[in-house]
Amino acid sequence: MTDAFASDRPSGLASSSDYLHAGHTLWSWLTTTDHKRIAILYGITITVFFLIGGAAITVVRYELLSPNGNLISDDTYNKLFTLHGVIMVWFFLIPSIPNTLGNFLVPLMIGAPDVAFPRLNLLSWYVNLAGGMFTLAALITGGVDTGWTFYTPFSTMFSNGDVLLAATGVFVAGFATIATGLNFIATIHMLRIEGMTWFRLPLFVWSIYAVSLVMVLATPVLATTLFLIFAERLFGLPIFDPAHGGDPLLFQHMFWFYSHPAVYIMVLPAMGVVTELITCFARRQVFGYTFMVYAMVAIAGVGFFVWGHHMFVSGQSPYASLIFSFLSFVIAVPSAIKVFNWTSTLYRGQISFEAPMLYALGFVGLFTVGGLTGLFLASIPVDVQVHDTYFVVAHFHYIMVGGSVSAFFGGLHFWWPKITGKLYSEAWARFAAVLMFFGFNFTFFPQFILGYLGMPRRYHVYPQEFQVYHEMSTMGASILAAAYLLPPFYLGWSLYAGKRAGNNPWGASGLEWQTSSPPPPKNFFVRPTVSERPYDYHASGRAPEADDRTPRRRQDKVA
């Protein structure tokens, strides 16, 4: 059944029958159930939200240039950083890799024609968009000043902002997250092609599986928390109000029970992307495949039990703090396993430095810095010193921006030829990758120093001696903003003038590279079967040869 396989077709022939040409009207896009088209719909909306969230923080950074805070009012400042947090967390980072690259690639990588529930997939996009509209409406009608964490009692009893509308947006978007996670779990369980056993899955698919578990089990608790905010703020039912014996700490426990796993929703798919990139551009088998799988599942699991490290100074029991501190150190172990395995994958590889690889290598460095500073914060005495300072801000931006956003851009560049069928300008792409790395470090490294010296987060009026670090950070942010604005131009240009990409421009081994670029609506012309593990770039036990960059075996049977 596999004698005439898709990859043997010249890519030119496929152009009339690819998914992009399956319909040209706007209506055909808005009613599509094709996972590849839904990935692109998500890609468009998260780009818009990224620009909105980025614009808000640009104003914040310029405000921080001077210690007197004379650009905008206190109130506007609070609303802008809240907007930045809410939009970036729930409408950019959480859907970023899973809903764009994950949506596009998971069915391709496991040899399926689509996800398990295509209509639910489309519905999730509309629900996510509706949630985004609620939140944007909250911003237009006056803004929210609670910070992205919606801490009570401020959010329920005192804030004058439009908390309900913003929280409704987040609540609604949660349904989209759960639907996405559910869809991926069912897809990976039920639609793997013949021969694609669990331990032959590409690690990106494993990362999406792990993140889906977190999505399905953590997001509903956020829904509970927001539901109780509605009850208290809208209906005046006291739940967290200390005057009636309620407990604001209860809110924090519930909020962080979701929001700490949410960090892993953001970073696990990034880990999956980076694994694919490093193995391909080092022409090397992934070192310790099974341990990479166990590490991801362990991160997803242990990630549920570390939330208390956000509350070391909130007044929780010192014994609870002790256990949460210990578990936060424990979760560093699987994270470190991944970093070591990426490094070992590079060892004696035939490394080339295409743009996606630059992003991937950047990820490994920045994730390591973010992870190690996380250990500082996990130890209680250090946390007491730097809690709620710029040290924390720098730490989580190293994970979320340095880590997740770098990986997102790396993955976008790596799979761009598959998604669009076009090659982008390699020189511009490398330039943007390097610029992004420097801009990022320039922005956030000074914030570690700022925080250590005692600059609290969320203040816009500060003592004179911090100004030099804030100025460095703002200049870095300008470079970073420029770096983020480059890809839309050269990637957009590639759509019109880019050279046609072959089916497999990087010589990668996964199933997604065996079909045409862009793939046909049902992904494969002939259904593939799998008889190999992934990443078989070279014979086991010896390093890849310098002159041989073709994979030893592809994952399908034909090769």
Partner: protein, 210 residues
């Protein structure tokens, strides 16, 4: 075209695979529902441990008759619902439609009884606020959660009633073939609504009466 072809959807090729996937997907969704209500139960438990006397006092102000009748109604509706799903497998269309209608009727009866109970709670000033009937501060916490959780449960039940009514309507018009996975997954959803109530009943009604 057989009946099975009639309900099959992309990307499935066999109705049995589609049914397996739908049921599996529903179980995953129910796992998230468990966490959703689990958060509320955790909240309730925590505050009850903090204020045991106030919760016992507040709990004795609920009307156990309404609660008990509703427990009976909902458990019976789960029986008729599971019968409907089973009868769909056996392709006994008439009997199944009857069971669906009975399920809807029992669900509606639950909401009616709940409505009477809510009215009585209003009349007896059991809504947290300035003229709350019980002079213990923490008793308001109990009734905050009482309204929040029973309200959320009623919303879930309403969604369930709409879903089962839709099935009954489609079966009656012969627009839904019996091998469709929708019977099974609707039944699963109905049961989670039922199970949530099984936890709510002792927590809210029996707590202060031991």
């Amino acid at each position: 075209m057989t009946q099975a072809d009639y309900v099959i959807r992309e990307p499935w090729e066999h109705i049995s695979d589609q049914r397996r996937a739908s049921t599996f997907g529903m179980w995953v969704f129910l796992a998230s529902e468990v966490l959703f209500f689990g958060g509320l139960f955790m909240c309730f438990t925590y505050l009850r441990v903090l204020h045991p006397a106030a919760f016992a006092e507040a709990s004795s102000h609920t009307n156990i008759w309404y609660g008990t009748i509703n427990t009976g109604l909902l458990l019976t509706s789960s029986f008729t619902m599971v019968m409907a799903a089973r009868l769909a497998d056996l392709e006994l269309r008439r009997l199944m439609a009857l069971c669906l209608v009975a399920t809807v009727a029992l669900g509606l009866a639950f909401l009616v009884v709940k409505g009477f109970e809510y009215r009585e709670d209003f009349d007896r000033h059991l809504v947290p606020g300035r003229d709350f009937a019980i002079p213990v501060a923490a008793a308001q916490l109990f009734f905050s959660l009482y309204w929040a959780i029973t309200g959320l449960h009623a919303i879930h039940l309403t969604i369930g009633i709409v879903a089962v009514s839709r099935l009954a309507f489609l079966v009656e018009r012969r627009e839904l073939a019996l091998p469709s996975p929708e019977f099974e997954i609707t039944a699963l959803y109905w049961h989670i609504v039922d199970i949530v109530w099984i936890f709510l009943y002792p927590l809210l009604y029996l707590g202060g009466r031991s």
